[in-house]
């Protein structure tokens, strides 16, 4: 295997797409055919009605990420693709922790635990309690360490979601992208609200 290029780092790829059956597979194939592992994947509705947003995290060089972004954008149902390093985005992951309530009640100063880890108790039942934290990987990992001695029953962490830091958001990003990857100027917005007049299926 070839040595890891030194300039590999985490990139957040954001794709705005139609909400279409099968598109997830089309996008996933772009990574898998190059044998690139997706670290995290989140799909959700966006601020624009009917338009979905993919957040994909991979560890790669900028050059590779740029090619991948172009190939994703080439898919018919994809409107626009951006990519950012972690420094350019605000990102969060959410984690849930399930622990036995009796142990927790007996042995832990729950309030302190919550405060120290920025956590919230979501559910408290006789048999178990569920905590939630949100943050970067190291932050959500902290509570695991704190809870492990008390019989952590279940743990789950969400995919990453990210939002751009610049105050003008993606509109500005879009212009920048257009300079490098020309297409019709801001053309997607022109048709975004004309659902009926254009072929959307």
């Amino acid at each position: 295997m070839s040595p890891e290029p030194a300039d590999r780092q985490e990139y957040n790829i954001t794709a705005y797409t139609e909400n279409q059956v099968g598109l997830l597979n089309r996008i996933a194939i772009i990574f898998s055919r190059r044998k690139i592992n997706i670290e995290s994947l989140n799909v959700s509705p966006s601020e624009i009605e009917g338009i979905h947003r993919f957040n994909i995290v991979i560890v790669e060089t900028e050059e590779v990420v740029e090619k991948l972004a172009k190939q994703i954008e080439k898919q018919v149902e994809v409107l626009k693709v951006y990519f950012n390093t972690n420094a350019d985005v605000i990102w969060q992951e959410m984690a849930l922790y399930k622990v036995p309530t009796d142990v927790i009640a007996e042995k832990v100063l729950v309030e302190r635990l919550l405060r120290e880890n920025g956590a919230r108790a979501v559910v408290i039942r006789k048999d178990y309690t569920v905590f939630e934290t949100t943050g970067h990987r190291e932050e959500t990992d902290n509570l695991i360490k704190a809870l492990q001695p008390y019989g952590l029953i279940e743990f789950v962490r969400s995919a990453r979601i990210a939002i751009i830091k610049a105050s003008d958001g993606f509109h500005h990003k879009l212009r920048e992208f257009e300079r490098r990857e020309p297409s019709e100027e801001v053309a997607e917005n022109e048709f975004l609200n004309d659902r009926e007049q254009v072929f959307t299926m």
């Binding site: 797409t17 139609e18 059956v21 099968g22 597979n25 089309r26 194939i29 055919r33 740029e66 090619k67 172009k70 190939q71 954008e73 080439k74 018919v76 149902e77 994809v78 409107l79 990857e181 020309p182 297409s183 019709e184 100027e185 053309a187 997607e188 048709f191 975004l192 004309d194 254009v198 072929f199 959307t200 299926m201």
Partner: protein
Amino acid sequence: MFQNQPSAQPTASSAAPALAPTTGAVATLQALVAEGVDTIFGYPGGAIIPIYDALYDFKEQLNHVLVRHEQGGIHAAQGYARSSGRVGVALATSGPGATNLVTGLADALIDSTPVVCITGQVFAHLLGTDAFQETDIINITTPVTKWNYQVTRAEEIPEALAKAFYIARSGRPGPVLVDITKNAQMQTFDAPEYQPCQHIRSYRPAPVVRRKYVEQAAALINSAKRPFILWGQGVVLGGAEAEFKAFVEKSGIPAAWTILGVGALATGHPLNVGMLGMHGNYGPNVLTNECDVLIAIGMRFDDRVTGRLDKYAKQAQVIHLDIDPTEIDKNVKTTMPVWGDCKETLPLLTALVERRAHPEWLARFNDHMAQEVEAVIREELFPTSEELTMGEVMQQLNEITRGEAIIVSDVGQHQMVACRYAQFNHARSNVTSGGLGTMGFALPAAIGAKFGAPDRPVVAVIGDGGFQMTIQELGTIMQTGVDVKIIILNNQFLGMVRQWQELFHQRRYSFVDIQSPDFVAVAAGYRIAGQRVAARADLRPALEKMLAHSGSFLLEVMVTKENNIFPMVPQGCSVAEIRLR
């Protein structure tokens, strides 16, 4: 730009589109007719019977060609598309019918061929149950289609097909598959008048042309001392042959072609310096590493063209004209990207470049060509040996057809010989499987090419190996009476693999020795005329007889068994390390 304009434009006068009750199957065929389709290639089966039933009543408008295997169907649709510039259409049933299309879809995707495949699918309520002849064709074909879609209700059909045709032929063309469940074919619905698709909000077929980049590219070209043009199929797909010729002639720059670009500029044009790549000409390959400005037009720097990328044209400033932004900087870093359809960008560039000639630089290509003629070409085309060569067959064919024929080639040594030596005066004359290298392509593609260009002679050049991969399509020729001339260049080997084994594996000829049936007798079994030739004296008369024959003809030519295709850039070498021997 890509033809196949719908023959029936929606009328502006009628306020509300008319609604008429029809079945999904009829709506499917109405869509094809509205898209200007005249010929479809297909094979029936249970899941597509409703469409075939409807076809019974569409015989006047739609010519259906019954192929002998679905792979033959899609290759025929590709041949049709390549020779005509229109969208090729293939029909297949679910399950095995649909999976037999996969090779052709992959071939069409990599060679940017506009094809629409319609497959039948099991009833919608059975999807995902492993029903009889159910395969998940949408997921199977996702990596090999430009777009695909599953229809489960009749009402979706007109819009799905309108999108399919638009996507297949626009921008960088490609194959599209629409899978229609049986219930959707059978359902009756109130169909509105067919509306062709002109815009999809998430789809940008061609990027907007940036004048600034064109100006900078022109400045770079005007400052060049040793500029060199590489062109590919993008010129043909854009219908930009005339614009390309004007650019080449005004700029006076030597131009070389990729295997799919050939024909865009006549083979005999003084600035056409030959073929690029692994089995391309000597000069273009060597001088790629000496030019100062490389102008790539509608080509994608395939590895068969570039050889080792880290040693490819490192000294040159690169200008890349392409409609597909993903191709820019993919393999070769550009100095100046010129995004857009070359039909649009080339005239802008031509207007800005100075009228020049590069006599000394061009002379170097000619010097290299003289060397290549001496070392390889003369003996190949005018052999002194007793046995026949593939090259002399092409040479004789050129003399008879004078560059007017459509040459369809299969994959192997004969393909390289056909593409290197065939004379092409027109675009859309070379039909071959470039990017995928699909053996078995030529026979069905030739059938399709003839339907796509019925007024032109179609000659298929095929190896003894590849011919046996789709030999069953002789049945399609028999049944339709389509006029295809078939030349089998029989070296009794899987020649190209044997060549590699000879050169790179110490002559260990592992399973490349292939036996063949009596091809002429097989053709006769299909009531196709034929002849076998093994002596030089018989070659010319046989070729003349074949071309004069009315209807299809199979000519088997016995050629030297162990001939090699040179020049050759060995895999893993730089293009400048091309070997003449």
